[in-house]
Symmetry: C2
């Protein structure tokens, strides 16, 4: 057995149990509290982050033919960090060279290593939070939660799922087939997990750890070596992750190159070289649908898991808590300025208005009230910065300008005091006259879309999800028959639906060990975090059998 | 709940248990005995089969724009049966039209229907055995076993695996997240299985039921409708299957078109139309690698599961039962004239011979002794016909002629008294001088391949498996260290290995509920019968969540 496995056995067992019960469970506390993480943890993490700025980031023993790195914080300063860089062939060769030893390590040993990595990453949560904040533009609290404990929980979820699937078949059995009056045929059979080979994880800028950890840890646990290819704008969170992983591997007597970092520069990306490299057996990709198409078309022998773009919708049919609904939607639109893959974009509202606990509300009143709720939420500048964060990619700002022209501006976007920022733009359009809202406008852009009826809104939102992809959908309604119909329609479109959310729970949120993130059932992605399908194709079972010695 | 589910609940529970224990277990008796199947079952089955010959095969309510069917028995006569035929668009439309009701049926109801279909197919085993015999050329005993109970076991295995995966996530849970001193957030969450849509099963001529049932039943159980596309030379076994399935569906109050038959003619196949049809969400394919490549390249949005071609090897390093080894190999080469996807083709033997319990044997002696064992096995004409069966496809005979020229004929192939038949050809070649044996020669062709050493044979066989694909491998050896090394080498190549088989168990045989058939880890196929990966991507889980009413 493995010492690391033994150390973390309780954690694994709890995680495995949570996978099947799917109630609330979390291994890594989401509250950035000194009581949990140590009274100096926050300051220490910030100091560690600051100490990295303007320097060479060292990863012991990592292949290196040069140095790259040009990250700019969306909050202002350049990070000035350079990372070891190498070409795709050298990285693939190093990864493959580490492969046999890692494949031969038992599932227990590999899972022990993965759990130790996750536990150490948890202790680094404040440093990683700063790294995430200054690459993604997330505000600190979100960078801590989503970049730290929530990402670690998603990694653990992948490890636990992989463990369940790897141990589903016994390692060894005796197979005894009766032969009537003749002696039985008795065979000894032995199965082992055979990994696919080298896995590639292609990270995104907005959630470098959260979106990468599931693929990284699912591939690692199942015996594949992993090359982590960060977005050139968000390298540091994954460089810290790779460094920790390599340290744990070496301490466990395993090759550091089981986990490698593939750094590149904007305009000279090596992603295509890696995707098409014949050694790559698995690709986890988070990013645009256009490049996702390319990856799927060009990665012939690799198993490809994707999270791509989509258009998420809210349908407002009726509500018995109009103010609560508007406040809830306002927060969902504002959080990280709509840069979450789960953020809503289209709000379908009947053209003739809706019934609410405050009486009938016209289309314009509903749209305006959501706008007013955004204004109220963001009225305090500190809170506004804490909710909206900054804009990761300057190109996102251009979308705002374009979207203004699509209809009537209900609430305009504006920068905040700090960082490259933009509050939500809300534009009113009519589905009878435009299809502009059917394209993804990534970032703080929402459309209030007038439709014939609540039913028409449900049909439009579900159809859009099926055609263009969607990760989330929300419905506000008081008619149980219509709610049931909507649940069926969105399920058929492969979208998870949140109904009548008010208060401190939002359509954007997806909880590890309970909510599957993405269903895989529409163009927003072909994989789901973390179902069995996410891990089962990362390895194969190979058997030998022989007559059992008497 | 479902009456059919309740009726077969015990069968399902036993099957689910067998999946995890993986000892010997079978639901459907493989012995064609009157005591098991009824004293008149054999005669009744033959009479039912004979009554179908020369007639229109009727499938109530099946789409039909014409009639097709030109099956010829490899044992002689034309079947003269015509089947309802339709084009791909009409079949896809009918399948899709049945989809919503089938998707909405609960997993219990669908699984109940699948289990009832399998149970009725079991009762039809003698009729199906005749249908399999006279389309594939298998001898009756094999046609009964492989075409009947073994195929039904594989179908049941797929249903049980699908059941495990569909019920892994609870249908409904309460999620309660603590909020410190504030009241918890309490959500009700509900999950449902969402199928991909229309599934296509592309059958082969040699094992029309055995190779089709896993995909058929895995797709059905998970809520997909299925279009079954038989090989034009082996329609009847699948036509009977489709007919039974439709009868069960209708009796259960469900649309018959959940299962459809897509008949075509040689030279006017509709397979390409079906593969590229946008409604097809899943494809199960058994057949050549060349067409498999085409399917994978052209089925962009469908999940594709394949079993393709490969080159299976035996390595003879040493043996303590020379006669037993030769007899065992002789049977494996002769069974159904090498037309099994699990049949060995290349027998690697050290050029300097091997150590045996009968003393040293030269390369030539080993090859000749295997040839002599084939002669002995086939010396009785009735037994020869029962072992070899007939040749399904006339093109297979051409391969024999070509292969003769590749080296020195150790044992020549010859026709038997009945049917289009050919006994095994054994050709001696030297790996130092040719690569002819590295290409698949489908049918009764084996190469005795001289190599430098046992280790070189293991390396050659494992490398060949990795490059060209292989479903089985066998090793005869007495050196435990070398056996362990071989086990590792073949596992890395994704091949299941049988070691030192003698007596009544053969490398060709793969037992449902214990042996995974194909690993998915080399070019012989991307799927494994039946692991979780074979079912998990056939459906998605969709959720709705809402605040729980107090």
């Amino acid at each position: 057995m493995s010492a690391l496995f033994d150390r973390h056995r309780g954690l694994l067992e709890d995680a495995v149990k949570a996978l099947s019960t799917r109630g609330f469970w979390s291994a890594f506390p989401e509250i950035p509290s000194g009581k949990i993480y140590g009274e100096t943890a926050k300051d220490d993490g910030e100091a560690s982050f600051n100490a990295l700025l303007g320097k060479s980031f060292e990863i012991a023993g990592h292949p290196e033919t040069g140095r790259l790195g040009a990250e700019m914080s969306p909050w202002g300063p350049a990070l000035g960090i350079s990372y070891p860089a190498s070409d795709s062939a050298a990285l693939a060769a190093a990864s493959r060279a580490a492969g046999d030893i890692w494949a031969d390590a038992s599932p227990e040993r590999r899972v022990g290593v993965c759990l130790e990595i996750l536990t150490r990453l948890n202790r680094l949560s404040f440093e990683i939070a700063n790294a995430v904040m200054h690459t993604t533009g997330q505000a600190f609290a979100m960078a801590f939660q989503a970049g730290g404990p929530h990402a670690q929980d998603r990694g653990l979820e992948a490890v636990a799922t992989a463990w369940v699937e790897m141990t589903r078949t016994p390692g060894e059995v005796v197979w005894e087939k009766p032969q009537g009056k003749a002696p039985s045929i008795v065979l000894q059979k032995n199965w082992q997990v055979v990994p696919r080979g080298v896995a590639l994880v292609i990270g995104c800028q907005t959630f470098p750890t959260w979106n990468s950890y599931p693929g990284l840890f699912a591939s690692l646990a199942t015996g594949n070596t992993v090359i982590v290819k960060p977005h050139p704008g968000a390298i540091l969170p994954l460089a810290l992750t790779v460094k920790v992983a390599r340290e744990v591997l070496v301490e466990a007597g395993l090759p550091a190159d089981v986990v490698l970092l593939a750094v590149d520069a904007v305009g000279a990306e090596i992603t295509r070289d890696l995707v098409t490299h014949p050694d790559i057996g698995i690709i986890d990709y988070t990013g645009s649908s256009a490049f996702g198409d390319w990856v799927r078309d060009n990665a012939r022998s690799a198993q490809v898991f994707t999270e791509e773009a989509g258009v998420n919708s809210i349908v407002i049919a009726a509500t018995d808590d109009f103010a609560g609904m508007c406040a809830n939607i306002a927060f969902s639109l504002s959080l990280y300025s709509g840069q979450m893959c789960t953020a809503p974009q289209d709000i379908f509202i009947p053209r003739d208005g809706i019934v609410t606990n405050e009486g009938h509300k016209s289309f314009d009143e509903v749209a305006a009230s959501i706008g007013a709720a955004v204004d109220a939420l963001l009225s305090d500048p500190a809170r506004a910065a804490g909710v909206c964060g900054a804009i990761a990619n300057p190109a996102t700002l251009e979308c705002i300008g374009k979207a203004r022209a699509f209809g009537r501006v209900v609430r305009d976007s504006a920068p905040l005091a700090s960082g490259r920022s933009a509050t939500p733009l809300i534009v009113a359009v009519d589905a009878a006259g435009t299809k502009a809202h059917e394209e993804e406008c990534f970032g703080p852009v929402a459309f209030a879309v007038a439709v014939d009826s609540a039913e028409a809104g449900i049909e439009a939102a579900a159809g859009l999800a099926r055609r263009k992809g969607a990760i989330t959908a929300a419905l506000y309604d008081t008619d149980e028959a219509r709610i049931a119909g909507a649940a069926k329609a969105f399920a058929r479109s492969g979208v998870n639906l949140s109904i009548n959310l008010t208060g401190n729970i939002f359509v954007n949120q997806s909880a590890a060990f309970s909510d599957f993130h993405v269903t895989g059932g529409n163009p927003a992605g072909n994989a789901s975090l973390t179902d069995s399908a996410f891990v089962t194709n990362r390895f194969r079972m190979a058997m030998w059998r022989r007559p059992k010695a008497a």
